[in-house]
Subunit: 457 residues, 2 copies
């Protein structure tokens, strides 16, 4: 049967545009009460029983039996072996990608992640000390969503920030186990280990790796067990159980955002080969049936050409079924009145990935306010950014780019204010604090300021 992908065709000039646009964009991260409860139970159990609970859940959900959690740890030598065993081209690509990602994040650290301070005229010092987190945890999914590039994108900024210890968890379910949809583990089955993921951990400077996953892994990282040290922040993607667990441990530890489905928005002036744009839309759609690919363009003929490219190129794609479902259910080709209007709509969407596929991308860039990453010009395919351009591919989804940012070095640092009030400064500041503290009815605050005032001679 022929697979066909026809994204919704919308025009901003149509009277039904607003309603159609809103319907297409709608996505709700409904939480499942059943999952919430099971996750709460697993978290409580791991908090109380530690290693024993981790072993139980790993046996139950991943079909992976072990006598101790220590058995589930991979050594640095095992990571190195995984790297050494790769074909040359993969080893080279992984190293080059890591190098570029590292160099971008080093620039980021220099631009926005260094301590600073200054002194007032009266000698009072004010500033901020920026320090790395001591220990962080990186969640890496097993199975079909196991992406070595995500290991690089999470671990390298942590490493560049100077995090002391980076603990990675990645489930290695035994084929035929419950989690893989089978009927229990066969006794001779092997755990599914993704060599590229381990190699990426080696390249990225991960300190320790435990082959555990799910809510139990998040719990172990948040609370610590006898074997697994507690971390101060957990980042990385995961399924609904992992997302629910991260949301619940938030506050005990820091977390990154809870990601929704991936999205691309291509803003095109019609100057890019339509095949390129079609393939960029595919590259988002192939992630997941819920992924969203949208084209915004003021040129009707060009939109038609992109649809023709979609028709022609789709049959050759191995993941065409997923691509078609994603484009049919959630994709859109939107005709706008102008590029300016396209920029306005882009800001309303606040997409994760925003390609400005224009011969004059710097004309439009200043008009774009909300996006995780902005890809300028026809040569900047999102896939180059996903793997190796340098910037992080962990980006805010579902419109959260209105208030949040790409994962970065700053996520693995924290700041402490520095204040050193001079004796002279205490005189001026003391008078101000005194008045305001009394205004708030906090007399000890007032007295503490007052005690530092010199008594007049």
């Amino acid at each position: 049967m022929k697979v066909i992908a026809t994204p919704a065709y919308l025009s901003t000039a149509s009277s039904t545009f607003e309603a159609e646009f809103k319907a297409r964009l709608y996505w709700s991260a409904e939480t499942d009460a059943g999952i919430e409860q099971r996750v709460a139970d697993i978290l409580a159990d791991v908090q109380h029983r530690g290693d024993a609970a981790v072993l139980d859940y790993t046996a139950r959900f991943d079909g992976l039996q072990a006598a101790s959690v220590a058995e589930l740890e991979l050594t640095q030598a095992e990571l190195k072996s995984a790297f050494d065993a790769l074909p040359d081209a993969q080893r080279y690509a992984l190293e080059q990608a890591a190098k570029r990602v590292r160099s971008y994040h080093e620039a980021q650290k220099q631009a926005s992640g260094e301590s600073w301070s200054y002194r007032d005229a009266d000698g009072t010092l004010l500033g901020q000390k920026v320090t790395p987190l001591d220990r962080v945890g990186i969640y890496v999914p097993g199975g079909k969503a196991a992406y070595p590039s995500s290991v690089l994108m999470n671990a390298i900024p942590a490493h560049v920030a100077g995090v002391g210890e980076i603990i990675m968890v990645v489930p290695t379910p035994v084929r035929g186990s419950v989690a893989s949809g089978g009927n229990g583990a066969a006794s001779d089955a092997k755990p599914e280990v993704n060599t590229l993921v381990l190699a990426a951990a080696y390249v990225a400077g991960v300190s320790r790796v435990f082959t555990i996953g799910g809510a139990q892994a998040v719990a172990a990282l948040a609370y610590g067990t006898l074997t697994i040290p507690a971390v101060h922040k957990i980042t990385g993607p995961g399924n609904a159980y992992v997302a629910a667990a991260k949301r619940r441990v938030f506050g005990t530890v820091g977390i990154d955002m809870i990601a929704g489905p991936s999205e691309i928005l291509v803003l095109a002036d019609g100057s890019t080969p339509p095949d390129w744009v079609a393939m960029d839309l595919f590259s988002q759609a192939e992630h997941d049936e819920l992924a969203q690919s949208i084209l915004l363009c003021p040129d009707k003929d060009y939109i038609d050409q992109v649809q023709e490219s979609i028709n022609r190129l789709l049959p050759e794609m191995p993941r065409r079924e997923i691509i078609a479902k994603s484009l049919n259910d959630r994709g859109a080709l939107i005709l706008t009145r102008s590029m300016e209007e396209a920029c306005d709509i882009a800001n309303r969407i606040a997409p994760e990935h925003l390609e400005v596929s224009s011969r004059d991308p710097h004309r439009w860039e200043p008009l774009l306010k909300h996006a995780g990453a902005i890809f300028l010009g026809a040569y900047t395919s999102e896939s180059l950014g996903d793997y190796c351009a340098g910037p992080n591919h962990v980006l805010p989804t579902s419109g959260t780019a209105r208030f949040s940012s790409p994962l970065g070095v700053y996520d693995f640092q924290k700041r402490s204010s520095l204040i050193e009030v001079s004796e002279a400064g205490a005189q001026t500041l003391g008078q101000i604090a005194l008045v305001l503290a009394h205004g708030e009815g906090l007399q000890a605050h007032a007295r503490a300021a007052e005690m530092r005032l010199k008594t007049p001679d």
Copy 2:
């Protein structure tokens, strides 16, 4: 009856230290299932019924009747009148404090909040564009915890960041209403308006003020109503209902941290007048019976002197009952073997406020890794920082300084990655992306990179 405050006396040399130390630090932010459910209901109701629901809850919980939400909005003229009506000393203090806070946050923006970019040798541009949030909401509690200084500390960084619109909500309950513990509002009762809070809103550059509070105010800000515009981030402290509501809308909007009780840790070498240190401990304890004040000092005699100061100074404090309960239940005077050990313990606690009350504070500062704000030297009382030194007084509590930071300009900005791959860059990057994409089984990603490769002549 005489009020006595005797913080626990601990010594690191004692065999029972670890257990006593852990027991003193223990604090659990247990969530109340009843509150959770009521808050979920209020959020859903405001999301569906908008203004009408806001009016209902404001009448029910604050005893404040209004025909429309527009009636609950204060005009800029009303804010200005509040400011103009202040006594000269308060007006001056508020303006001076705002000026210093603004100038610190401007330095912060310059140090870590500006866009940056660079070009590779092959002409590829990489960088990050930093932009302000469009619209933010600031929650300001009514009643006893209404602090004008908090208005400054939340609104000024937003203003400095360049946020387009700052919407403040502050409940003005009618005396005798349910929320104030009475038995229903008397018909001639007036809403409790805090003039200093309104004046602070005027000084800080708040755009609009609505006199609503509770979960209904958080819901209105997160989802928007006909009258109240939806914001992209909500900051500011509140009671258990407000905290639960913020936690629930997190994801729809950004939020700041959910704050626990306030804490001070004084690390003293014995060179500061003991009265000053005692008053600094009081100034934390007077906030709240759950607040925590701890002294770390290697000098036993000095600790005794601080206890004597506590005994002598407590009776003169208007809030002595709260101070005594806080110090007795949660306070501690800890004798350490050395200043170095005191620094280690400070890092274990990761306090909100850390005073280094030493004649040589710069000797110890580099050893201090985790703290919201570090106050250096005897003249730097926490209260100067609370009001007017310049740095933000919204700081991470309950040990979250291990992974989070003071509220700052960065909380009101977001970043977008910028990538412009040159034609030459697409050749090198394309080869790398190709290999990695195939390794992840994402063929459209690979093809998108491949299409940008020049075919060899």
